[in-house]
Amino acid sequence: MSTTAHKDEERPWFLAHHFDTVGQQVSSAKLGMWLFCCTEVLMFSGLFLAYFILRQMYPEMVLVASEELNKTAGGVNTIVLLTSSFTMALGVRAAQTNNQKALERNLLLTIACAFIFMIVKYFEYTSKIEHGFLPGNWYSAAEHGYMLPKYSRVFFGVYFTMTGLHGVHVLVGIGVLSWIFIRARRREFSSENYVAVECAGLYWHIVDLVWIFLFPLLYLVK
């Protein structure tokens, strides 16, 4: 083993003191992030299971109630999220290739897509609330002149829980990506040190991944 003094001279500024090499640090960060992705998948799997159980118990109700969702808004949001995933992947690549300008631009584009997603979601939620398509006791579609099958309120419960939790993830994603953007502006990232960008990207792709399943199941079930 070489002397400590010699080793310290070689250590890059971003290498934490408890790691021997950058490779170790990157590998640990990624291991943690992938484990977090696993917990995310497991958390959403419970909600997906609730959806499948509901569908099994009341197949017709789910088909009729889901017709009230706006397929086009859902489709636009899918494309917005896929685009944001694409720009995020390009952003990580920009960090890998020391392309500072492309990194900042792609991060901003990703954040912009996240905002577009939330705006579309806002209009969708507003129209559901106006028509009384709310979960549980708040369900009042009949008062608004909509005759939906019995227990439709349960479908809207599942709808609001799943898209709501996903929406919270998008909001958190906006925060995380803004933090990464500020750090990118400080020129903290380079081809040697980009694991933070990569991990934020992994989180963002998981958000996209959940929506890839949510969209056909909730909006396109027919």
């Binding site: 083993m1 070489s2 070689e10 021997d20 090499t21 950058v22 490779g23 170790q24 590998s27 990624k30 291991l31 992938w34 484990l35 992705c37 696993c38 998948v41 497991l42 799997s45 419970g46 299971l49 499948f52 159980i53 099994q56 118990m57 397929k71 489709g75 899918t78 494309i79 896929l82 685009t83 995933s85 694409f86 995020m88 992947a89 390009l90 990580v92 690549r93 890998q96 290739t97 009949a142 008062e143 019995k150 227990y151 081809s191 040697e192 990569e198 990207g201 992994l202 792709h205 996209d208 991944l209 890839i212 399943f213 969209f215 056909p216 199941l217 909006y219 396109l220 079930v221 027919k222």
Partner: protein, 144 residues
Amino acid sequence: MSVYLNGKLVEHPHEDHHHVSPVWQFTAVFIVLLFLTILTYLVSFAGLGAASLPVAMFVATIKASLVIAFFMHLFYEDRTFAFLFMTCFIFVAIFFTFVLFDMNATDAMNEEGGIQYKKSVEDDAAEADANRAFDAPGPAKSRY
């Protein structure tokens, strides 16, 4: 000093090798994802009946695999991460399979044992309500 990463000895621990995917690959994946999204959207208007759920899930799985493999870079990572992530899906499969089996099996058992679900209790109450309204003299009362 020997450095181990993911259980393997690293020969030159201070040299890092990063795999950088070409832009055309990201673009190709993105175009395929867009194509599959538009396809599922259009097919949903036609309606595939009983096949719609399996087809939608199949297409979604392809899209998810593309995102995981290329956007999330899992295809080029150390296999440890792929192993970790795929294990999680095995647990999801166990979760789904057993709960759905249970759902199917207990229906008949509950009926045998005379146990009523909340949904059937509510159904009966609503029916009784509707009948009362129908039988009651005077102007017909709306159920809503």
